[in-house]
Amino acid sequence: MLSLENITKTTQDWLLTKFSPTMALTIECVIVILLSITLFALLGLVLVLLERKVAARIQIRLGPNRVGPGGIFQTAADTLKLIMKEGLTPDKADKFLFNLAPFVVMMVAMLLLAPIAFAKNFQIWDINIGVLYISSISSLSVIGILMAGWASNNKYSLLGAMRSGAQIVSYELSAGFAVLTIVVLTGSLQISDIIASQENGWWLFKGHIPVIIAFVLYIIAVTAETNRAPFDLAEAESELTAGFHTEYSGMKFALFFLAEYINIFIVCAIGATLFLGGWMPLHIGHWESFNHIMDYIPSSLWFMGKTFFLIFVIMWFRWTFPRLRVDHLLNLEWKYLLPISLFNLLLVTVIAIMGWHF
């Protein structure tokens, strides 16, 4: 039941029997839009609650436990509160950009959803330059943040936005290089190809130490790219009160908040896809019987399990480390991560050419 493999196929077949191809495509688009918006709302609710529960567990306290059993409706109640709040716009703010910015950030997050394979044959758009698409779109989110920081007419916001700009532009590089290692090994930019190439084992295990290094670099870089602690300098509440979203309130703030969590989900999903085989169950070489047992677990569960594991790791970072300073942050990227990832890419290329990987 949890296997989503045939749903897309049957739906399309059924639609084509009832409607003309154009009509069917339109209906499919509407379904996809509705599903992705629902997914967004659900993810927001689940991830915020998860974060609060994880934080509480790490900080020896209980976390939300009043609204609903175990506090599961806490985020729903919070959302209700945020919807009812007045969305203030500062007097001297650039009103157009100020109101546009949360939507830009949100839209970028939504666009990134397209090439992600949630289960076997369950993907919105299997574009042939999937990885390239992801890295190009994800760098757009900085525009939304800069827009918010500039339009707020607030110095804290401006400082936060500028930090965020420097940070995202730098960490794009390592994230990109880490992604490239997998592209080199697979020889394809297409997400479905990358997953298919991990049929006999995930790249994290197949690709020797260089891929493990790339995986670690990827996790560090995306933590920075999503502005999460210890790289949350754009928000840095003890320095800049709330950074780029200081002036936002109500639902506009909620959109930023939601976009942050969606972004975490997306980068973790991509990480899971590239390094941990996406929806591909744990397969080990030619152990046919073992592989067969693993196939009984639905592919959607594999994907979600891996993604949420990575999300948990990123949350764990947040509640353990202090924040970096802005110059340390850039030092880390340009003096350590970037040279390492360049060298690592070279190593992986050699491995790929010589066929040393499994």
């Binding site: 934080a55 790490i58 900080q59 020896i60 306290r61 110095k155 804290y156 400082l159 930090r163 602690a229 210890p230 949350d232 300098l233 840095a236 509440e237 003890s238 320095e239 800049l240 009160t241 509640w319 353990t320 480390f321 202090p322 924040r323 970096l324 300073r325 802005v326 110059d327 340390h328």
Partner: protein, 378 residues
Amino acid sequence: MYNQTEIIKDTTELGPEGELVINIGPQHPATHGVLHLVVTLNGETIKKIEPHLGYIHRSIEKMCESLTYRQFIYVTSRMDYLSSHINNTACALLIEKGLQIEVPERAKVVRTILNELTRIASHELWIGAMAMDLGAFTPFFYAFREREMITDIMEDTCGARLTMNYIVPGGLMYDIHPDFQTKVKAFVKQFKEKVTEYEDLVTGNIIFQSRTKGVGVLTAQDAISYGCTGPVARASGVSCDMRKIAPYDAYDRVEFDEVIETTGDSFARYIVRVKEMNQSIRIIEQLIDNIPEGEFVGKTKNVLKLAKGEFYQRVETARGELGIYIVSEGATTPYRIKFRSPGFSNLSVLNHIAKGSKIGDLMATMGTLDLVIPDIDR
């Protein structure tokens, strides 16, 4: 009032050299109270810090001029609310010195234990708050776990958790709770087990070290010139522990080390406070089994009158040297009273040591100076 804000508004315009002026505080997550810093920035680099005080100024000095010697002690709990016991002790000591009241041994020992517990509680809160300034939330909860035990002991003993008002001229207000000794021992045991936990979480963390080492360096010479005391000065290698220089209560009969570091940066200030907590535990361990039996308060007159003259009493609070200067005209109330608060002098050094560093460093420096605003404003 609000001319001051107008002045600030004028300076917030971009200066000719592209300066950016931001107001950190009075409502800001990092200032722990209503401290208002006007910070001139050049990009992320700090050019000037100007404190604007007075948001919580109650003119305690003026207030005390119309309160009797028994009454004014309770106001001092509201000064440095994290070491209210020690403030109360300072007042009591001054009156005892002025009137030559004999304090029973039992009271002296209990006072010392309570003072050290207060010091630990204050440092615990500081560790949590400073880690939070640096963006790490978790140590805050770890530190509060142990602090909670101390506040529970205080609640049993004094009936209050924050502003204790337990110490009166001549000794203590009441005798200690029967469970006092067992509870303190339980706390000492738990503290020794758990202190390593947040030390592991904070001290060894490479990000924490890179954020604090070499940040906000205060030389010994500057520390003396700016009148810094307490952990701030001791981290710069200046010996200034009042418990050693002019022992009061039972400090002359206990063994403990004055913690001194020499580097003078934020990390040294952190280390000094962590080690001081261990020294406080050492003091408590020496005294807790040896609380003498007997009276808890010495004989005093109902109406206290200090002789005409001047009195000065110094004690070591969690933040440094608290001095109380009283000019008496022989009446039941002080003629003039001055509280030399440690935070006021420690704040004055902020501009000097944080100038030229980044905003992030300002939080580390400000955090390790351990400013308590009611103590500064009075």
